[in-house]
Symmetry: C2
Subunit: 411 residues, 2 copies
Amino acid sequence: MARLVLKFGGTSVADVARIKHAAAKVAREVAAGHQVVVVVSAMAGVTNALVDYCRSTAEQADPAECDAVVASGEQVTSGLMAIALQALGLKARSFQGWQIPLVSDDSHGKARIDRIDAERVTAALAQGVVPVVAGFQGVTPDQRITTLGRGGSDTSAVALAAAVQADRCDIYTDVDGVYTTDPRLTDRAQKLPRVTFEEMLELASQGAKVLMTRSVELAMRYHVPVQVLSSFEEAIGSDLPGTLLADEETNMENRPVTGIAYSRDEAQITLRRVPDKPGIAAALFGPLARANINVDMIVQNISADGTTDLTFTVAKGDLARALHTLESAKADIGFTTLSSDSDVAKVSVIGVGMRSHAGVAATMFKTLSERGINIRVISTSEIKISVLIDAATTELAVRALHTAYGLDAAA
Amino acid sequence: MARLVLKFGGTSVADVARIKHAAAKVAREVAAGHQVVVVVSAMAGVTNALVDYCRSTAEQADPAECDAVVASGEQVTSGLMAIALQALGLKARSFQGWQIPLVSDDSHGKARIDRIDAERVTAALAQGVVPVVAGFQGVTPDQRITTLGRGGSDTSAVALAAAVQADRCDIYTDVDGVYTTDPRLTDRAQKLPRVTFEEMLELASQGAKVLMTRSVELAMRYHVPVQVLSSFEEAIGSDLPGTLLADEETNMENRPVTGIAYSRDEAQITLRRVPDKPGIAAALFGPLARANINVDMIVQNISADGTTDLTFTVAKGDLARALHTLESAKADIGFTTLSSDSDVAKVSVIGVGMRSHAGVAATMFKTLSERGINIRVISTSEIKISVLIDAATTELAVRALHTAYGLDAAA
């Protein structure tokens, strides 16, 4: 017998028929002898509709009141799921965030979980009841309703799994797992049966939008095995049909690279002839940070004549604001020209095996060079190498790297 | 400065535009120096949609889970109303039933209020905040969400008004008050500026569907003045444009009859040649009560030959079940024939003045007789006289009585 947390996202509970379908999966896990906690999102589209209500009531709607409005979406699904489970002969009851309680800070709209008192949930489990938790919701110590921000229901599920010491947290969604690369770019992409949390973090932040970074971080911190799987397929979580995110194991397949990620949401900024003196990085990146603009890849050339060239990337949506911020700070920074290019893409190879395999970077540069792909910027972490290239060569680069690292599915 | 509870029903908060419109009325009361608590229903149609979700998930849906689902409707409106009030420059915050708390028993779907801890609401008032309470909702001592049944938001409003010792509870709805009779039957009907609670109870139970009996009873018990008024008109509650329900006052207008009510939801049952012996009423009405069928007007003729004829009325929707129940108990009751007629109507004249005015009944019988209207059954209470007549003569009877008791509006 295992203790499982099963989380069903919006498309998995999109209507009453889908809720019943999800309930049947829960029932199969219970029939297999497992203790199950269910976490549900709002029915697909409901959260957006509720947010629209708030925005059309006032342009600057109070985040605390928006939370009360928006949290109602998960409340509905939790009740309906409990009803659907009861119709299958199970004992079940819904729990709202405040009923658990799942205590958060008061950063309405993007609250952080402070603690979960899991006692009522585990007491329900002990009585053979399936607790159905409304995801996305928290409650402040002052009894106000909060929501946990984007991907909040995944965060709820992982945090609950940690709190009830679950053996696994299954995230049912509309994709069937994590792939070696985006299957839309190459039909040779393969589903990964297993990735480490660190790899998933790099994959997620590099553009594989399966799970939000925050829930992966939480799972890593509390060592909660998380499976990503599809609710649209027949298999249930205990069949392990999806991708398991888990701690690194010594007996893991000995591959240098696990997956290739890419992002076209990048823009490159170059400042020429910046005075090469102490404090210049602060003068440059300080104003950007204060404008809440994240800077990603940074390259500084060796200084030649007392000045240097600086290149870095920002999110495409931040480019205009970044350029404006830099122009305003031109006197402090002292560059001669400022140029930008948003027709770029970042391609990353990711794998914990990199730590023990030499030559991963060399393979990447050689592969891209053979295809005539020019590398603009390089950045690396312990388990990732990223390059900035022309956007038009993204697909070519991903396919070539996928083959070079032996990730292609058998034809 | 008065302390007011303003309740807005479903059509008064049907969409964002209507919510803003209602918020403007609240703002005018606050600007006039009053302390205001707002109580809101779900947006029109939402509750029915949520109930349908529950029913389509399971035929016998758990009432506790249905309550969690259905209560979300008022949660949305309370948040949106708070946002709309803030947009008008007021301080406002929403309160769910559990946040007040409004503690109820666990009769899910039709819970009774046990107590209201008004401390948080009055603390908000003291800070100049407009508390916006989600109507219809309660919470059990065990922290489960409940709903208060049909007309529950009115009940919430009146109970809150009692708990915060409000000077008045204004029920904003889609009618502008209580009339001397149904304005659809005669254009001579007049809006009553004031009725007593007892009159309103008779009017409500006799078919004037403005306020549910339960909230009127509550207002009467706690002496909460309640005004029924339209949210679709310009006037606000403090202008007293509607009908005020209040305790009887000695200086009230000295009229014998306040209003004429009617109901076509009646069916007449007659049993002939029932043995006139002790215990026969129990044999007859016991099985009906056990079948949960309410019996209304009852007439028993004087016994002639050791048998008697019995006539009574039931709700039209209960007629088939009532007849079946009586046929099944025929051996115990011992009647010879059982007949029924659902083509009947009950017309009632109502007024606390009846207590001190003689001849009210005589006027009624004379008026109907002059119009050739046959009276089948008569029943009376201290402030009401009801007659059962042919359904086809309802309008004629109501108009004639309206004129006879001097209720007609000036032409």
